[in-house]
Amino acid sequence: MNVPGGDAADVGSRAQASLRLDGVGMSFGAKEVLAGIDLEVSPGQFVALVGPSGAGKSTLLRLLNGSHRPTVGTVSVLGTDPTKCSRRELQRLRTRIGFVFQQFGLVGRLSAMENVLMGALGSLRLPRYGVSSYPQDLRRRAAGNLERVGLIDARFQRCDTLSGGQQQRVAIARTLMQDAEIVLADEPVASLDPSSSLSVLETLRRLSAEDGFTVVCSLHQVDLALAISDRIVAVRDGSLVLDTATSQTNESQIRSIYQRNGPAT
């Protein structure tokens, strides 16, 4: 197996990894879903997680934000082990990790602005209802973030009247409210058409470069992974079968891992 991809210089310059998994395995009951996962991601990297459906990509991402606990091995995210956190500590850790979902996870009946503002709930103490219930400075940041994803004009529009690509942009703007150090994205473009898929991923890539947050993004389209990432990690049947810098691989190599007898690098 390759040494984790990315520039050696980059890895060296930053002392602490954004996240690392050591010998992680995970089972649901008798069913083993992940086994022997070692992975280290350095800050600012854009990692594409590829693999066929059922390979364990979602499970891996959910381990990283503490939604699942591994059956064996250790997880460390931003220097913290989410499995050792109390509920409050986990809440605090999650404010530093953005999560983008395939189904967007927006409240369709509310405005884009309010959905973006919800990203800041982790830093507020009380519950909020309605745009005006959020403090001015947060509203200003929300407007700024909507501007950055190109949706400032739709700020007061009901989310369920926006297109799929626009909704995913709103969801991305919501994670920006967290000032997250890591953004985990689980098939963020699987429900979108090809052209908005690419433009949503490009937006995520640009924001990551501007703000310096780490991205781990699962994708099932290989071409998108190649177009967008620094590093590609492939999963099959719960194991890592490829881990390489994007510049050092190509479509046919990755395609082959989708097939049973493909070369396990």
Binding site: F101, Q103, L106, L110, P127, E147, R155, D160, R174, Q178
Partner: protein, 545 residues
């Protein structure tokens, strides 16, 4: 993936195959069960043709004494009608506010302690099972005569009803937004207000309006036990044998409920339209300052609606407010009552009473379902298409619904004397009206496409009905019959208050004679029987639908 798809249809057919025989069995067993109980009920209640004939004569004579209705002081009546509305509004409003956290804790999505969840579910089950009129008897004892006890009674019963339905609404929401906001590190409470509440708001407003409608009906009779509202005047008139005055008040109650029927129809329609997705896309007007939400029609409507609801609730609360000078006495009465509950007494009077209530309810359901079915079939045009008949039947159903069944019972008791016969007749009328309404809705909802196709083959209307409509109507026939008996049971538990048989009489006597152990016994039996019947109904429904 193409590999996994073929397994699906296989799984579906495998699931489906054993179903029809089970469904068929339940389809026969449930009506047979009702029939068996009803045959027993006819004997137990001593219903026979001569009794019915004599009864008809007695009722006619009483009705003669009620004519012409007298209205007495109009301003007094208006005040009492308004009080009825405030009781319902205050009770429903308080119940709604209390129900929100309870429903959140009772729903499957709740992630807090299991013990809290089971406690809350228990509260919901018990308050649902006890009719508001029963709560009213107890609260009048504690808080004295007047609308405060009434509003509290409405609130208690409604908490169970509203929280149950709200929990169902919460459980139906897709988990995606909740998970997304959980992932930003929001607390459970924040997550609830951000994702669950806004998404449930349309469904909650419509279920609360529906409950308000039911509660206004209930508030109209709370006065019979002294808990305020228009029923107080009715109680006074009947007590002083002033039947013309009583008739006048019944007419006023009828008009109130007819108006309510119209208003709630209009409001439900407006809410449904407003809740439709995509009606408004701009929730606020955009202003020059991007962070300042401006006012547009949508925001005005939202805010206006919320303010009106809050204002009406606050005003209603001031109208039913508690007299603080009674606090000491009420406290003492509450302590006496609660300590008196122990040990609960379940003697033969209690058991006979509850048994009689069940028999009355189920027998009346059978009568109501049969007559209601005939009315529904005749008024929906599947078999007979004669517009004046269908119109007349619909008017009849609305008129039947406009008088609460406790009032029917009151009239029948006055005409026929005390006992379950009067209660049975009253329940039969209200069950008929309910069943007719449910069945009419269901028959109208049958998809007309296949019927056209059948008609095109040259089948007669009766043939189309028997082979096209009936099979698809049966599940709703059974479901709605079960629901009707569910409502009938709660009603039959209170008819004893006016002497029309069943457990209500034992309950009222026990409270009046400070025999609180028996009160507790009655409440326990009532909850057990209602919950048990509900469970049977739920089980039966899964077998049929």
């Amino acid at each position: 993936m193409s590999v996994t798809t073929p397994s699906r249809p296989v799984a579906v057919t495998r699931e489906r195959e054993p179903r029809p025989p089970r469904a068929a069995a339940a389809t026969w067993l449930i009506p047979l069960g009702y029939l068996a109980v009803s045959v027993f009920g006819v004997w137990w209640i001593a219903i026979d043709l001569t009794a019915l004939q004599d009864g008809a004569g007695d009722i006619a004579r009483l009705l003669e004494r009620m004519l012409p209705p007298e209205f007495g002081s109009l301003s007094e009546l208006v005040t009492l009608v308004l009080e009825t509305l405030w009781i319902a509004l205050a009770g429903t409003g308080v119940a709604t506010v209390v129900s929100l956290p309870l429903a959140a804790a009772a729903s499957r999505n709740f992630t807090g302690p299991r013990s809290v969840q089971w406690l809350v579910r228990g509260i919901i089950v018990v308050t649902r099972a006890v009719p508001s009129l029963v709560f009213a008897i107890v609260f009048v004892r504690i808080f004295g005569l007047g609308p405060f006890a009434g509003a509290l009674a409405i609130a208690f019963h409604s908490v169970g009803m509203i929280a149950k339905m709200m929990a169902d609404v919460f459980e139906e929401l897709t988990p995606a937004p909740r998970e997304a906001i959980g992932a930003v590190g929001a607390s459970r409470f924040q997550n609830f207000t951000a994702t669950t509440l806004p998404r449930s708001l349309p469904a909650i407003s419509s279920l609360v309006l529906y409950r308000l409608d039911i509660n206004i009906r209930a508030s109209a009779v709370l006065g019979l036990v002294g808990a305020g509202g228009i029923g107080v005047a009715l109680q006074t008139a009947i007590g002083s044998l002033n039947y013309q005055q009583a008739a006048g008040i019944i007419v006023v109650i009828g008009l109130l409920l007819l108006a309510l029927e119209l208003v709630s129809f209009l409001v439900q329609r407006a809410v449904a339209e407003h809740a439709q997705d995509g009606v408004t896309s701009e929730l606020y007007r955009r202003t020059a300052d991007p962070i300042r939400p401006g006012w547009n029609r949508a925001r005005l409507l939202r805010t206006g609606g919320a303010l009106i609801a809050a204002g009406a609730l606050l005003y209603a609360l001031t109208q039913v407010s508690f007299d603080p000078s009674r606090l000491g006495r009420s406290w003492q009465a509450a302590v006496d009552l609660v300590t008196g509950f122990f040990p609960p007494v379940i003697d033969s009077a209690v058991l006979t009473g509850i048994f009689e209530s069940v028999v009355m309810a189920l027998t009346a359901t059978t009568v109501g379902v049969v007559i209601g079915l005939v009315i529904a079939i005749l008024s929906t045009g599947h078999v007979v298409r004669f517009a004046p008949l269908s119109f007349a039947l619909r008017v009849l159903v609305v008129l039947m619904r406009s008088v609460p069944d406790v009032i029917y019972a009151l009239v029948f008791v006055a005409a026929l004397g005390l006992g379950p016969f009067a209660g049975f007749l009253a329940l039969s009328i209200s069950c008929t009206a309910l069943a007719a309404k449910f069945f009419t809705d269901a028959l109208q909802g049958v998809d007309p496409g296949p019927l056209r196709a059948l008609e095109a083959t040259g089948a007669s209307r009766l043939q189309v009905f028997v082979s096209g409509v009936w099979p698809r109507f049966v599940p709703s026939l059974i479901g709605n019959s079960l629901f009707t008996s569910d409502l009938a049971l709660r009603e039959s538990a209170v008819l004893g208050i006016v002497g029309a048989g069943g457990i209500g009489f034992v309950l009222q006597e026990s409270v009046a004679s400070l025999d609180y152990g028996t009160t507790a016994g009655v409440l326990i039996c009532l909850v057990v029987v209602v919950v048990a019947l509900e469970a049977v109904a739920r089980w039966a429904r899964t077998r049929v639908i």
